[in-house]
Amino acid sequence: MNAEKRFEIFRLFFSILIALLVSFALIFMVSKQPVAAIVALITGPFKSSRNLANVVEAMIPLIFTGTGVCIMFAANQINLASEGAFHLGGLVAAAFALKLALPAGIAPAVCLILAAAAGAFFTALPAILKIKTGASEMVASLMINYISLWFCTFILMHFILDPAAGAASYSLPKTAKLPTLFSGTRIHFGLIIALAVAVLGYVFLYRSKIGYELRIAGSNKQFAEYSGIDIVKVILISQLVGGAVAGLGGGVEILSPIYSRFTWTSLLGYGWDAIVICTLAKKDPLKTPLAALFLAYLRTGASIMARTTDVTLEVVQITQGVIILLAVAEQFLSKTKHRIIAREAKAALQKEGGA
């Protein structure tokens, strides 16, 4: 491994460390029982098999949206609509599970395919706006998430609402649900789909022709143009695929044993979390499960901490924010990086001189 790569890994861990230290400092400031809170945050997830299962359950949706964002960001399309695509995917899967009443086995597959299609359609909207009008995909995708939220809420309230259950749909039919993998937990078949998506995402991005085009266009648009790559096609496909994966994730989540009805009336934040995942995974879908595991671990720890001590969940949001800021700040530790590279170059010079 060369100095550059080693440094990148070092920097990532250093960022995480600083972020954790910042969180600890905050906990010490706000809590009357800071040590207990930190212990709960760090060791809580390991305390019981139920807690560990919670970590795995929480990482599943993160793998989906994380992979989707990797694919879009690799093409340098800062499309933030995976939040809305996830939401819409959940609604579409739930609505069709309720209305189609397909037999077991087929039902989840059909619902998930429709969820993916809805997600693809949704993230393609900002892409098409960009291609046709030059509108920034970042702004358009940011705003469009609210359209998704309110559209889904509208469908929920007017088409699938169970009047007996408050703001929730009718109970989803058992035939459409994803099976659990381990009895006594809610770890479900979605984990397998998620891991498959991460692997396929990697193959798509790093082994396929279109993925190659996409990464070239993403890292230097002018080079892509000069090479004869169709940039419009690349922009559109990257966002169709990214959105499909996010939509699929929404479908998987709603059909999982965690939910029995469609109850989403606010954005869940998996699309935003995906940006953390993508940053930690350095746009490599194969690494998204690891990144998702880390974030899910933090989340689970935080919720245990919130339940057992006087510190609230939001502390982890701050940790997350600090990690992102440090991980994306190219100049962070740039002097150290320069020193490492300079040292290596000097060593090489001496070797040459000695030989």
């Binding site: 550059e4 890292s219 080079f223 000069y226 169709d230 320069h338």
Partner: protein, 517 residues
């Protein structure tokens, strides 16, 4: 005896972020009132040393002693306040402003809140007269010729009180006549007590006006010499470590069928300015058509149109008889055209992708390299390793990011990519600009090999030596037209070429541009 020196740079070391050691233990001393040449091939580290002196780069180690006192130079502003001025190779002027406005920019005479324009013009005129520069200070910079722009740059530095003036390859963009004029001016400045660092790799120019020369090679100083006491032969030896090979053993061209025909090609740029003006020419397999000319005379627009990057043109372009009007970039590339782009970093590569990934952007759809959906990763890795070997790309392995390589090696990656398709036509735009001699020579030999194998080559280059030694026919481009075309390249002198480049001479009837009429 440090008092006799206005400036000493001692043991400067500079390593760039990509690990390239640009300066290794380099020292430079300047005597007051001398013209000191900093001599070296492209990539020898001259520019880096000057960037350190001008405060653009911070050295990793070393000392700078200015007028007997050790100092650090933090920024260009700092350098200017310490009496160091720099004239960059690429001018730093605002084209839409007048000469006077450019000269006073940043140090404007004020009248309350406003710039005192009358005073600005007077000041500019005064400084121009003081140094005997014959310039109309009210002219817009975009309307004045290159030679005059350079004078404006020099005046800009002098106006800010520069005692030490750095000129980075000042003659690169000048015609021979403009160069003569510049030298007269520089001698006057020297007589006035200014000290000038003259960066160049043109030996005859150094012989003409420099007192001493510091020669650099490969990031190191090869010593400082009195110019009168060293022969040009010795200088060139120190510079490249061997005799410069200026002539290639070139076989006479064996012409094949016409590969490329251009008829009445007219191109306007995005601003609507006419850049290529009813140009017609033919190119046969087995020959190199050199295109010389001062930059900005339509060369870039011509190349971008031939390679289908620009699609708005009138006239006709035929590749092997087929009209390319409907072709995309890929369409033209599929007709077996290789293209070495003018600027390797902006369009020639993706710096944060690997060497392997950069080597197939033009040919990954080839059935040898990919199936319907997937790339044949193993084949690509193997082919990349072969190409790295064949093109002598210095790297740790093909998985290294291209951006980490030196300019010459990046260029070799690009050339490997463009040549490995087995091209029928090669468009080489500044193929050796800013790279080390070894790489440049390698690329030139490759171009000749492909020409000998029947490939048609267009070579656009600012390096006159290069176009002279490689071209079978040589055209000079001036204001979108060929102002001259020489079929007997050996008989043309640099002096003549300069006149055509400047538009002083212009042949209305070109012999030999078009093969069949």
């Amino acid at each position: 005896m440090s008092e006799q020196y206005v400036l000493q740079m001692q043991n400067i070391m500079k390593i760039y972020g990509n690990g390239v050691v640009a300066n290794e233990d380099v020292s430079l001393t300047l005597k007051k009132g001398e013209i000191h040449s900093l001599l070296g091939e492209n990539g020898a580290g001259k520019s880096t040393l000057m960037k350190v002196l001008f405060g653009i780069e911070t050295p990793d180690s070393g000392k700078i002693i200015l007028n007997g006192e050790e100092t650090t130079i933090k920024s260009p502003m700092d350098a200017i306040s310490k009496g160091i001025g720099m004239v960059h190779q690429h001018f730093m002027l605002v084209p839409s402003l007048t000469v006077a406005e450019n000269i006073i920019l940043g140090v404007e005479p004020k009248n309350g809140l406003f710039i005192d324009m009358k005073k600005a013009v007077d000041e500019a005129r005064r400084i121009a007269e003081q140094y005997n520069f014959d310039i109309d200070v009210t002219a817009k910079v975009e309307e004045i010729p290159v030679g005059v722009k350079q004078k404006v740059e020099i005046l800009k530095a002098l106006y800010r009180g520069a005692d030490i003036l750095i000129l980075d390859e000042p003659t690169a963009v000048l015609t021979p006549q403009e160069t003569d004029e510049l030298f007269v001016q520089l001698e006057k400045l020297r007589a006035d007590g200014h000290t000038i660092i003259f960066i160049s790799h043109k030996l005859d120019e150094i012989k003409r006006i420099c007192n001493r020369a510091t020669i650099m090679r490969n990031g190191r100083s090869m010593g400082t010499y009195e110019v009168s006491e060293i022969s040009t032969d010795d200088m060139s030896k120190l510079m490249v470590g061997r005799e410069v090979v200026l002539t290639f053993d070139k076989k006479p061209p064996v012409l094949k069928e016409v590969m490329l025909s251009v008829r009445d090609l007219t191109v306007h740029n995005a601003q609507g300015v006419l850049k290529v003006d009813k140009l017609s020419f033919d190119l046969k397999g087995g020959e190199i058509l050199g295109i010389a000319g001062v930059e900005g005379n339509g060369q870039s627009e011509l190349i971008n149109t031939l390679t289908a990057i620009n699609k708005s043109y009138s006239g006709d372009i035929f590749i092997k008889g087929a009209d390319i009007r409907q072709d995309t970039v890929k369409g033209v590339r599929d007709r077996k055209m290789g293209h070495i782009p003018e600027d390797r970093m902006t369009s020639g590569c993706a710096g944060n992708l690997s060497i392997r990934e950069n080597m197939f952007s033009n040919q990954y759809t080839d059935p040898a390299y990919s199936g319907k959906f997937l790339l044949k990763t193993k084949v690509l890795a193997q082919r990349a390793a072969e190409l790295v070997k064949e093109y002598l790309v210095k790297c740790k392995n093909p998985e290294q990011n291209v951006g980490m390589l030196s300019g010459g090696n990046i260029q070799k990656v690009i050339v490997a990519r463009e040549f490995s398709i087995g091209p029928d036509i090669i468009i080489a735009n500044q193929p050796t600009r800013g790279i080390d001699v070894g790489a440049a020579e390698f690329i030139r030999r490759r171009l000749l090999e492909y020409r000998d194998a029947g490939c048609a080559v267009i070579l656009v280059s600012a390096d006159l030596n290069e176009v002279f030694s490689l071209s079978d026919r040589l055209a000079v481009m001036y204001k979108g037209k060929f102002s001259g075309l020489f079929t007997d390249v050996g008989s043309v002198t640099e002096e003549q070429l300069g006149q055509y480049m400047l538009g002083l001479r212009h042949d209305d009837e070109l012999g030999g541009a078009v093969y069949e009429r």
